[in-house]
């Protein structure tokens, strides 16, 4: 039995449910839109591990029966109107916003702590998903796995930014340090004029690196590399910038595939979307490992069977490895990082809702 937690309005969750159905794999969907209310959880930690159940309107599933969990951590409640039925009935309108936030946090914690402790495969555990909140932290980890990272400046000092700009031959981009989604922008004349605002908020600047974007989806021991061609500085926003975007399944060297898998293992991630750039000289730069990748975008464009691979992994029930740590507390490459089995293109999976 596979547990899927999320919102059906989330296209990735919808795709995963459709894929599990296509493959004839039994799953239980915990609709977070109706939790609390229509769904309940109850679990206990004891000497034998974690036991308990999740229940919906018409069935209850024992945690022991789970081979895998697919969960999307979304700030779903912010956009919920009206509130979950019984919360509303209890007088949600009378609760102040702070109280509502605390209630949301409590319910989210009840799921996150559960998936963190379950022994089955989890895509992805809450604690393993956090490192994405610091791109610099992930960058240091990437270097430990042999990836290159661009020359970077993180600063509140306008003069330091100007010096860096000149040192990089005036080819610099800037973007957020955290996981807050920001559009990667070139440091141009207009942005340079705003550098005096830097003391109000630290900002990350990077030397612009030429190359081709490659998104690698890691699913357990498998990798699905996608090549993205676009003139846009940030291909995710190519449309806004009036640029074209093209995607295709591609190949990556074995050592790069192994590094992607090793990096995921070190982070404790079962599935991740790793953003790479292949420079003209063949070097691979790594920008981040996304613990909750919107792989539907890539699967639709290339036919790479990413959701099928995730479904197989959840069905197999292989637990995610815990992050290996060196004595200094830094994640380290596992000594047995193996070359990933690469799947390029292949037959397009049957789809119901995927396109």
């Amino acid at each position: 039995m596979i547990l899927v937690c999320g919102l059906l309005a989330d296209a990735v969750v919808e795709l995963m449910c459709a894929r599990l159905e296509d493959m004839g794999l039994e799953y239980f969907f915990l609709d977070e839109r109706r939790y609390p209310g229509a769904f309940d959880v109850s679990w206990e930690v004891g000497p034998a591990g974690v036991t308990g159940w999740v229940a919906g309107p018409d069935r209850r599933v024992a945690l022991d029966d789970l081979t895998g969990v697919y969960i999307r951590y979304v700030e779903y409640r912010e956009s919920l109107e009206p509130a979950a039925p019984h919360v509303e009935a209890e007088g949600a309108g009378r609760r102040d916003e702070r109280t509502q936030q605390m209630i949301r946090a409590e319910f989210q914690a009840s799921l996150m702590q559960l998936v963190d402790i379950l022994p089955c495969a989890v895509v992805n555990r809450a604690y393993a998903s956090i490192s994405n909140d610091s791109k610099l932290w992930q960058g240091f980890l990437a270097r430990r796995f042999g990836f290159h990272t661009p020359r970077t400046l993180a600063t509140t000092d306008p003069e330091a930014a100007r010096t860096f700009y000149e040192a990089c031959g005036r080819r610099v981009i800037f973007k957020s340090l955290s996981s807050v989604r920001s559009i990667v922008r070139p440091l141009d004349k207009e942005s340079l004029a705003r550098l005096d605002l830097l003391p109000n908020c630290p900002t990350q600047f990077q030397e612009h690196v030429e190359g081709v974007d490659v998104r690698v989806h890691v699913v357990g021991e498998e990798v699905y590399p996608t090549r993205i061609v676009s003139e846009a500085t940030d291909y995710r926003y190519a449309g806004r910038q009036g640029a074209e975007i093209a995607m295709e399944a591609t190949e990556i060297p074995d050592d790069i595939a192994a590094a992607c898998i090793g990096m995921c293992r070190a982070l404790g991630l079962t599935v991740a979307g790793i953003d790479l750039l292949r420079a003209p000289d063949g070097r691979f730069y790594c920008f981040e490992a996304n613990p909750s990748p919107g792989f539907i975008f890539y699967e639709r464009a290339t036919g790479q069977p990413i959701s099928e691979a995730i479904a197989r992994l959840l069905h197999r029930g292989a637990p995610a490895p815990r992050a290996a740590r060196a004595t200094d507390g830094h994640p380290r490459p596992p000594p047995d990082a193996r070359t990933g089995r690469r799947r390029h293109g292949g037959p397009r999976p049957k789809r119901r809702n995927a396109s």
Binding site: V41, M102, Q113, L136
Partner: protein
Amino acid sequence: MTSIVVIGRESDVCCQLVRARLAADGRECLFVPEDELLPGLHFAWRISGDECEGTVGMGSRPIPFSDLGGVLARAWGIPVSVSSFQTKDGQYITSEWSALLLAWLHRLPCPVINRLRPELWYKTHLHVPEIVALAPGVPFKWPAVRVTTSADEARDFYHRCRGRVRYWPLTQHVPYPVETAADLDKLATLAATLPLYLTEAVAGERRDAYVVGPHVVPVAMDGGRAEALPAPVARRCRDIAHALDLTFCMLSLVATGGGDWYGVRLDRMPSLIEVGEEARQEIAGDLVVALTGSAA
């Protein structure tokens, strides 16, 4: 001479004690007040390959990272006021400061208290399920725990624990005793609104164990310095801290009449407000030793 950086708030007792000890010892200390950070903080960090260098300062002469001897980070990751935090800009600034600070502390070669793993970035208090998830295999006894959204399951747990239960909000660290039928009825009502984290209330004497590097300072409930913990218990406390990569933390313990020691929760940024003077000074002294490598 190297400088010690203390990041925190003026009102933080731990920061006050450590700063006072450093000053008494004639050591240079840069205090970075997290709640009065921006604008005012000078920070420039250049990263090229494996090379990192930069400067940090607050109004005074910026200090090169290479001159830093240690960092005590008592940061909440929130550099803006409460009212600003409610705004989109305030939340963005908070995310960026937090992302920068955590990566920087991770990368610094000097002693950092605490150099946090990502799993702990947003958790200052760990309940039993979180400790078990993040530090599996640590040989400690834990009370029975149940997390449930079902009032019936809560009642069942209450009866199984013979009416000795504590309710904790999952995201908080203050427990509420559930010891009577009336308490249980109130709890059942609450189950309609919140998930319930219930722990068995283990009967016994409470101790707080402050772990600072290799030292464990036991503190009694009145804040006084307690007698030393049995060696195996102190070792288990150190083992948990080590498993979580924490130089400084506090474990709440209960010693039963039968000689068993239970762990109840862990705080990775313990306040010293309720700790008596003798124990406070001992903990602060241990922190200075851990930061500087020598006794203050």
